[in-house]
Amino acid sequence: MPESQPDTPGCFGAFGGVYVAETLQPALEQLALAWQSIGRQQQFRDELAELLATYVGRPTPLYRAERLGEKYGCGIWLKREDLSHTGAHKINNTVGQILLAQRMGKKRIIAETGAGQHGVATATVCARVGIECVVYMGSRDIARQAPNVYRMRLLGAQVRAVDSGSRTLKDALNEALRDWVTNVDSTHYAIGSVAGPHPYPQMVRDFNAVVGKECRQQIQQVLGKMPDAVVACVGGGSNAIGIFHPFIPDRQVRLIGVEAGGQGIESGEHAAPLAGRAPAGILHGMRTYVMQDDHGQIMATASLAAGLDYPAVGPEHAWLRDQGRAEYVAATDSETLAAFDDLCRLEGIIPALESAHAIAHAKKLAGELGADGQIVINLSGRGDKDLQTVAEAAGIDIQS
């Protein structure tokens, strides 16, 4: 298998590329050049490392989930990204992109957000460096992730509701692209996933790969060997690629991405382009697998987890799947809620619903691997933002 790096036009095999309106093409070239030059400077890297250590709280621990492992019947390790500042892996990327944008002379940051984790991470770093921040969020997601909306506003960001289309993550991305094309000179668009046109899939991966680099060392220290599998949830796929990437050369380690199975793949009500075998398409500047109808219209997706509610997937995941290097499966909403419960009750950890998808699959995988199996799960975020959703699913009104 060739190295997992994009080629000159920014493609991973048949996936990726730069499929955007002409107005944005030069800005993307400029960003790719800046990332190549500034991103390699020692001073930039030192500043990033310093912020990751003292502000984000890296390295995050790798935690042995003993009681969960006992219940599921194998060794389970959690990479605790939920303990990062702002409660998810997303900040690794926003710290990097905003430092880069500042050096590029940009005066304004825009972002899209689904669950609100990337929006909060962006608003946080913008507050930290003192730069204007506008976050686009689907109005449906605003309703189901209210605590994160308020957090962004407390941090001084402007949250703009997006009422078009399905009013979720994909529509927030469209609206952010519209803002960017209008304000391209002053503004940096901080995409929150390993999605979008080149250089985002590569750049966002590189910023998140710190998760996998730490984890690869940590697991070898405690186990004295490689794990059997690394499992992570996949919407656009940033936390998954972040933990997978350093393990790609370790062929004996299975890399498993867990997509949002919603009501089940067969129901059609899901957000699992890879597990659901969606055809290849072009969306949001990239060529990748996209859930769409026979006419090429993008389909509405369905997931309890706003952060996974996205009809496409980062191009490197599409490529890793086709290369056979990573596997992609789905966990349904109900499997996810059961796993959420398990982690709360057995480990005292309230996970994000997104991350709970990875836990749900680990339960199935444990049965396959047996008692000697060792699974690393990227616990990509914490679940405070999801309490309302989980209570509603259980028929409980937490307001009264």
């Binding site: 036009p9 590329g17 730069v18 499929y19 955007v20 309106a21 002409e22 107005t23 944005l24 093409q25 030069p26 800005a27 078009s164 289309g165 994909k170 529509d171 991305l173 469209n174 692209l177 519209r178 094309v181 209008t182 304000n183 391209v184 000179d185 055809p279 290849a280 398409g281 072009i282 969306l283 949001h284 500047g285 996209v290 769409q292 026979d294 006419h295 090429g296 219209q297 993008i298």
Partner: protein, 263 residues
């Protein structure tokens, strides 16, 4: 010579008027009647918008038209059918399909080019599918003699203009504003300067679109451009009309006023 090239050649010395209309809008069966109205009002080329669920380069007016068209079950297939039926009914103007990459890709570039040819569609403009290297869409359209129209933006550097022009045919479409359709107002002086800059790199005709909504805009830009594309103001007028015939007369009136301003 392609139909578009012939139209520009015959129109030498004047600026052509290119109205845009979303297919399957406002009603599912409106399109052919609206195309006839555009021709009667003096249009030179018709851009048919292929609806897409995620039109990231469009402002609110065309976004809503896309949503309505999709609710009316419009698609690339119905755009090709409308073009063919316009042609069968004696329609004479060249037709260009303007849309987003995914419906074109899903349909298949080779099949698209072939069916454009059969339906009498002269060119294809895919907003988010730049002519790369290799150019899958351009190879297919070239095979069938269908023009592949590309966008040039205010941000496009000069050296890139030449390479885009080399992979394009029919005309180049200059996007007059940094922004989405129907939201800004083109600066006439900047646009005319851009036209001069583009002409140094290519002999292709140059159209201007985005941010053009009045006969005054058309008259002011005629000096620098071979064609003026008008979209959102027509779509808004069609949206406000209660029926296909009301929409036809509303857009016909706007187009004939613009046509007069260009003469």
């Amino acid at each position: 010579m392609s139909a578009l090239a012939t139209t520009f050649a015959q129109g030498t010395g004047r600026t052509l008027l290119v109205p845009y209309m979303t297919v399957g809008f406002p009603q599912a069966d409106s399109t052919v009647a609206l195309m006839d109205a555009l021709e009667d009002a003096g249009a030179d080329i018709i851009e048919l918008g292929v609806p897409f669920s995620d039109p990231a380069a469009d402002g609110p007016v065309i976004q809503r038209a896309n949503d309505q068209a999709l609710a009316n079950r419009a698609s690339l297939t119905s755009a090709l059918a409308a073009a063919a039926s316009y042609r069968d009914g004696g329609g004479k103007l060249p037709v260009v399909l303007m849309g987003y990459a995914n419906p074109f890709l899903r349909f298949g570039p080779a099949r698209l080019a072939r069916e454009c040819n059969q339906a009498g569609v002269s060119g294809v403009l895919a907003v988010d599918w730049p002519a790369g290297d290799p150019d899958e869409l351009g190879a297919a359209t070239g095979e069938e003699g269908v023009d592949r129209i590309s966008l040039i933006a205010p941000t496009t550097p000069e050296e890139r203009i030449a390479s885009i022009a080399a992979k394009s045919s029919g005309y180049l479409y200059y996007v007059s504003i940094k922004g989405v359709t129907g939201t800004g107002k083109a600066s006439h002086s900047e646009a005319l300067a851009a036209a001069a800059k583009i002409r140094k790199q290519t002999g292709l005709p140059i159209a201007i679109g985005f941010g053009i909504s009045t006969p005054q805009d058309c008259a002011a830009l005629a000096a620098g451009f071979d064609a003026v594309v008008v979209g959102s103001c027509l779509v808004a007028a069609a949206a406000a009309a209660g029926s296909t015939s009301a929409a036809a007369s509303a857009i016909g009136k706007i187009v004939s006023e613009m046509k007069a301003a260009l003469q």
